[in-house]
Symmetry: C3
Subunit: 132 residues, 3 copies
């Protein structure tokens, strides 16, 4: 079962919550036990998991990443978004979550985020649900 979703990000760098979309995709699939693979088909965005309670965590993550991988640093890529390419490779283009009793197995404080590093943009992510 293959699904495609769209997101409209709002900032240059942003963790955009996609947990609701992932959960409803698993529900739609009807799969009770298996894995759910989320894949981002871009090169300047990624997917990650992190805290769902205090929104300050998201800001700390994006601010610190902007400091560690600066927007400008004598990059050669003419488009000017090399920092976004680097951050995307560091965060990774996919997440796999386990499905149990029809729900993703997530920790109490975990939500799933589309990691925008070169927005705002219209983006998409794809999901594959495998029974097993």
């Amino acid at each position: 079962m293959f699904y495609e979703h769209q997101v409209q990000t709002n900032k240059r760098v942003e963790l955009y919550n996609i947990t609701t979309q992932v959960k409803s995709t698993i529900k739609d699939s009807g799969v009770k036990e298996g894995i759910c693979h989320i894949f981002v088909p871009h090169t300047t965005a990624a997917v990650t998991i992190n805290e769902n309670a205090d929104p300050a965590v998201k800001g700390d993550i994006t601010n610190e990443m902007n400091k560690v991988i600066p927007f400008s640093d004598n990059y050669q890529h003419a488009e000017g978004n090399s920092a976004a390419h680097i951050k995307a490779s560091l965060f990774g283009f996919s997440e796999t979550v386990i499905i149990k009793n029809g729900n993703p197995v997530l920790g109490t404080w975990q939500d799933i985020y589309f990691a925008e590093f070169d927005g705002p943009r219209r983006r998409r992510f794809v999901v594959k649900v495998i029974e097993g």
Copy 2:
């Protein structure tokens, strides 16, 4: 087949070897060919793979990460563990290893580590074994 394991980490930042637990989980599952997905349901810990021989490698990894993502850096999150949240997203919350002849396919020097970034704590990780 779904499994849950507990670990008691000993330091604030530590790579804790879970290879034995993963191997025995695969054995328990009886699966000979497939994949084994390891997932960490926390937001300040992760899972990674790295060297199993010289223990100095683990220290070099944790020391350097503590330097690249400092414990204090004007973070806004009141709990004071934003560095751990950032490191966890960088290392990632899951690993998937291939199962062949009933064993995980790992390189000669590879072991699997629970990456603690805000310990010491009682932690857990979950494992899903899929035949295929």
Copy 3:
């Protein structure tokens, strides 16, 4: 279906394109719908996805990573390649791509790269294709 591939890297740090090998492996498997898991059985190399068009992106990624994680930084590991171990954990040892109609689902600008951090060397990566 399990496959093993070899690569000969050419530089100390290099993103080596393995997309063609991955695509032909999926074709060989005959699987039309499923997932393809790529795993690097080393501790100083990784696998990532990134831009396939402007080659300057690869150079920006490797140059910046060499700056963020310096080759020398009072590491204790006697082999002198701790930076490579750290970068490998940051990039990650596996990628999972979705298979649809017999092809990997990749974005327009995405290719799959073996990330060499301690080359040049003869390396290998393994691939598992799962139908589902």
